[in-house]
């Protein structure tokens, strides 16, 4: 009896301790979140502030003037369209090549699989920034400089290692038996890849697609180096024009443009992570 009593008491103290710990954790997290949110709050508030400055503050009046000022072909539509062409093209190329490449790696046994995968994994972590100078020199030589197709090809190549790696891991999750059934029905490997394997790994395919697209949408250095003509520039580079070229920096417009330019990738991320859990981009890459 006495023993049972002590036990309930100790459980109670432990629950109380746990509640206290939860409150502490909540407080700490909210503090960090507030610090992280300050720069984000600036961009949102400044975009609707008629007299925006560098500091976070609640606008005295709300305006859509900043958005109206930037939603012109010159400032917004052309760069966003360029971004869409670049990233869309490169993503399609990446996903197509990665799906094809992952198939033999996942389905057939070969002595070359392991060295190939190790090379791919090694390549995923090379600093691409470092090779931009030789890539520039190379592109000048073969006349690919300042072309969208050249930039698309290079973009695709930089995303490919990680895409192949992810794709192969997702493909391994599709049971081979289903495919063998298709084979006995007379399907060729290409047919079984298109009709059986890829449809079954829909979420994985979505992850690879969204991840590639988001990475390239935000990439600054590659188009900054490989494109020269202003009307070919994607939004990641053209946003720079708000500084310098246009004289005084219109912070409200800069913020409005940042909001417009960032919204698609945030929406894409939310869409995919809703379906697949927050660690979606990590896939098999950092299991450990």
């Amino acid at each position: 009896m006495a023993r049972a009593l002590t036990r309930t008491r100790s459980t109670r103290t432990r629950t109380r301790a746990r509640a206290a710990r939860r409150r502490t954790a909540d407080a700490c997290l909210l503090l960090v979140a507030a610090a992280f949110a300050l720069p984000l709050a600036w961009v949102v508030l400044a975009s609707v502030d008629p007299s925006a400055g560098l500091r976070v503050r609640v606008p005295h009046a709300l305006t859509l003037g900043n958005f109206r000022a930037i939603l012109t072909p010159d400032i917004t539509y052309t760069p966003l369209l360029n971004s869409l062409i670049l990233c869309g093209g490169a993503t399609a190329l990446t996903v197509g090549c990665a799906a094809l490449a992952a198939y033999p790696l996942s389905r057939f046994r070969s002595r070359l699989n392991r060295p190939f995968l190790l090379t791919i994994l090694f390549a995923t972590s090379l600093p691409i920034t470092a090779i931009m100078v030789p890539v520039y020199a190379l592109f000048v030589r073969v006349n690919l400089i300042d072309t969208l197709q050249g930039t698309i090809l290079f973009f695709a190549a930089t995303q490919l290692p990680f895409a192949i790696w992810l794709m192969k891991n997702f493909m391994d999750g599709v049971p081979k038996e289903l495919e063998e059934a298709a084979w006995t029905d007379g399907a060729s490997p290409v047919q079984s890849l298109l009709r059986v394997v890829l449809p079954l790994m829909g979420p994985g395919l979505a992850v690879v697609t969204v991840f590639s697209f988001v990475m390239m949408w935000g990439n600054f250095f590659v188009p900054f180096m490989l494109l020269l003509t202003p009307d070919k520039m994607p939004a990641s580079v053209s946003v720079n024009d708000f500084f310098g070229n246009r004289g005084m920096v219109a912070y409200g417009q800069l913020a409005a443009f940042s909001v417009v330019y960032s919204t698609p990738v945030i929406l894409l991320y939310v869409l995919v992570s809703r379906r697949l859990g927050s660690g979606f981009a990590l896939g098999g890459a950092v299991k450990g």
Binding site: A33, L126, V133, A157
Partner: protein
């Protein structure tokens, strides 16, 4: 069971071809070219032929105070922002998330991940506005009656390091959240009942159990941080002077603003070598998985 239409080895490898061609042409090719021109005196303008100069570019780099400065700043930037900042804060956030109440967890997670998903240049602007004189940090410090200063001028490398922490912590947080979820609850509960305090549990149970996640996370963070260009470029252009000029920015300046492609590439090659070294360690850490 014999499969119908089983393709011979070469035909089976055919789907690899497009990817391999792209990788060879646009990744392996430039890397090989990088090695080649790092040993020449290639320049951008007014030069018909470049000639082989051996290790001159590398000797020049190691004697160049600008290079040594960039190496030092890269080291400071990487250690501060990736190893200390992103890694520790990411682990702390993941641990707090496990204990916090559900709505707080959702809010904090969303804010931190948004900072990660934003395009690089936008992140650069936001933090430029945050650290500038008259910016938000300035206002907060003034409100707290702490000494105010123009961070981008007085401590530019610290400002860009914080910026990188802001931007990159989400990745570590996600990695560590996944790792912590895999620790069986019984183990830490048993330790708790045995009276082990929070710090001892962290040191003797949690950290050893997630050590492989720590390894891979550190490796990926470091590699990511080594090649940061846009964030620093937008915030400081490597300045004032060269006080936030890390290796990628030095490489860009030498190759393009000074037209010394050969020298710039030598710098790039050194960066690539450091990256390759880290990559190799990363592979060792994952070796049981492939």
């Amino acid at each position: 069971m014999r499969r119908r239409g089983a393709a011979p080895g070469l035909l089976r490898a055919l789907p690899l071809a497009p990817a391999v061609v792209l990788l060879l042409l646009f990744l392996a090719g430039p890397i090989a070219y990088c090695v080649l021109i790092a040993f020449t005196d290639l320049q951008l303008t007014g030069q018909a032929h470049s000639s082989f100069v051996g290790f001159a570019n590398f000797r020049r780099a190691f004697a160049d105070p600008a290079f040594l400065n960039a190496v030092w700043l890269t080291l400071v930037f990487t250690v501060l922002s990736s190893i200390v900042g992103q890694n520790t804060l990411g682990l702390a956030l993941a641990a707090l998330m496990k204990r916090a109440s559900r709505p707080v967890r959702a809010v904090a997670g969303a804010v931190v991940v948004t900072a990660w998903v934003l395009p690089e240049v936008v992140a650069g602007f936001l933090l430029y506005a945050f650290f500038r004189r008259e910016g938000t940090l300035d206002a907060v410090l003034g409100w707290l009656r702490l000494p105010r200063q123009n961070w981008l001028y007085t401590l530019p490398i610290l400002a860009v390091s914080f910026a990188n922490v802001w931007r990159g912590t989400a990745f570590s947080m996600l990695v560590y959240s996944a790792a912590l979820d895999e620790i069986p609850a019984e183990i830490s509960e048993a330790a708790e009942v045995d009276g082990a305090g929070g710090l001892r549990r962290l040191w003797h149970i949690t950290l050893p159990m997630i050590r492989r996640s720590i390894g891979t996370n550190l490796m990926l963070n470091t590699l990511q941080t080594l090649s940061v260009f846009g964030l620093i470029w937008v915030m400081t252009r490597g300045g004032p002077g060269d006080r936030s000029q890390t290796l990628p920015l030095l490489m860009y300046e030498q190759a393009f603003q000074n037209s010394m492609i050969g020298y710039g590439t030598a710098v790039a090659l050194l960066l690539l070598l450091v990256g390759a070294l880290f990559s190799a360690v990363y592979l060792r850490l994952l070796r049981t998985e492939v």
